[in-house]
Amino acid sequence: MSAGTAAPRRFGAVNWLGLRTLFRRELRRVLVEYRDTVLGPAVSGLLFLAVFRLALGGAEGADDGATFLQFLAPGLVIFAACQRAFETAAASLIYDKLEGILADTLMAPLTPVERTLGYAGGAAASGLVTGAVVLAAMLPFVDLPLAAPAAVLFFAVGGTLLHALLGVLVGLWAERWDHYSASLTFLVIPFAFLSGTFYSIERLPAFGQQAVTLNPVFYVIDGFRYGFIGRADGSLAVGLAVVVAVDLLLFAAAWRLFAAGYKIKP
């Protein structure tokens, strides 16, 4: 019967318990505000759907077999998911920094890789939850096929992770909330809006079509949509490679910043 002090917990190469805790905290802090973070995007998505439907009226709007709404719905779903993932990651980090509670995660025995995974993973998961709810809200109004579930899954995960990691980078860099809203208004939303959420890029002028093929967000939207309607504007193989490459690149950047303590350690 020894009443000695508690021995430190032992863990192997990965602090699974810590990683899971950070992941769950990131996911929960968003879902607890589900009215704004999940239902809000669902309402916005339905509004866009309604507005386009009404603006089109009886006009054709068919894009190669798929009706315009079938084309639009997946774009709106992945847009909502990606935006949520970005917002979660960036807002969490900025909030923690400004409130001075980032120390809670910096002091815990987590490696920079685990921190990156925890923040980005939780944010990506919150994006996936939001995307699923937006999709569910749209299903009663749009008869959506499911051509390639694997593509849906891959581009949903790859796309939300991409935006979550971008959110981590912005969150580490930002010092004020202005930086957050500016990056959202001038970077994330324009990229998504102009990358084919709402229209087939065939409608762009030649220059725009070429510019878009350099844009990873285009591949995320295009590939995700392919998973439903079975038709893509760009090359799926290129999309796959680009999304994986950009995810890895952003992950490496976020990991290095955490390791160096950029703007988070004195």
């Binding site: 704004d36 309402v43 916005s44 386009f52 603006a55 009226g57 959420t197 709402f198």
Partner: protein, 267 residues
């Protein structure tokens, strides 16, 4: 040898003009200081909307009521940007002051409820109009639209900004947390702005909804404002003038009463 005399209180007439002007300036400077967020951001967002709609629908929808689709769309987008920003200005100002506790700085000075209402609302109207002019000019470069009746443009720009500023005051006084305000924006203001004919002629709506649209002030503000530019209206212009005036009066009284009784503002 001068004897120091304690300053005597400033004498006010029926209106505390200095106080009112000061409150107004505070409200204007508050958004002017972060013009990137409050003017440039709506500008970019609205131009994005224009780009999206012209790319997505440009081929399928030529004209609405004989007017080219983009000319139909542009005034509606300008109006949408104006009202969202007018609402955001007053609601965020009051809510943030309440949460941070510096609302006393506005409640303690000798400002009557009417002056408070006017000072806040005028700040919101100013932001609405500044955003409207900026967005309107930028749009006009992209989509040259005519200007048939400047009087209607002016009336509806001011009336709509005022209406949403007053609504923002009411919302800002009522809300206690940021998520309540976000919910109001997400579930009330944006849907109204979206569904009231910014993007389509209400003639396209099913009969029930068309009737509902004719009771909706948002419909009249967009429709009347657009009429000022393109000379084509979906609804009755006279009804629009009446509805906008009545809605503004009703909201003014409500905001005034809330300030007067100190609802959620005073212990």
């Amino acid at each position: 040898m001068t004897v120091s005399v304690p300053p005597s209180p400033r004498r006010l007439g029926p209106v505390n003009w200095v106080g009112l002007w000061t409150l107004y300036l505070k409200e204007v400077r508050r958004f002017a200081k972060v013009a990137t967020q409050t003017v440039l951001a709506p500008l970019v967002t609205t131009l994005l909307f224009l780009a999206i709609f012209s790319l997505a629908l440009g081929r399928a929808v030529d004209t609405i009521g004989g007017v080219p689709f983009l000319q139909f769309l542009a005034p509606g987008l300008v109006m949408m940007a104006m009202v969202q920003n007018a609402f955001a200005n007053t609601s965020s100002s009051l809510l943030i002051s309440k949460i941070q506790g510096n609302i006393v700085d506005v409640l303690m000075p000798p400002l009557s409820p009417g002056e408070l209402t006017l000072g806040f609302a005028a700040g919101g109207v100013s932001r609405g109009l500044v955003v409207g002019v900026a967005v309107g000019l930028a749009m006009w470069l992209a989509v040259p639209f005519p200007l048939h009746h400047p009087g209607f443009v002016l009336f509806h720009a001011v009336a709509a900004s005022l209406m949403l500023s007053l609504l923002g005051i009411v919302g800002g006084i009522w809300a206690e947390k940021f998520d309540q305000m976000a919910a109001m924006t997400n579930f009330v203001i944006t849907p109204f702005a979206f569904l009231s004919g910014t993007f389509y002629s209400v003639e396209r709506l099913p009969a029930v909804w068309r009737t509902a649209a004719h009771l909706n002030p948002f419909f009249y503000m967009i429709d009347g404002f657009r009429y000022g530019f393109i000379g084509h209206a979906d609804g009755s212009l006279a009804a629009g003038l009446v509805v906008m005036t009545a809605a503004n009066l009703a909201l003014w009284l409500l905001a005034y009463r809330l300030f007067a009784v100190g609802y959620k503002l005073k212990a």
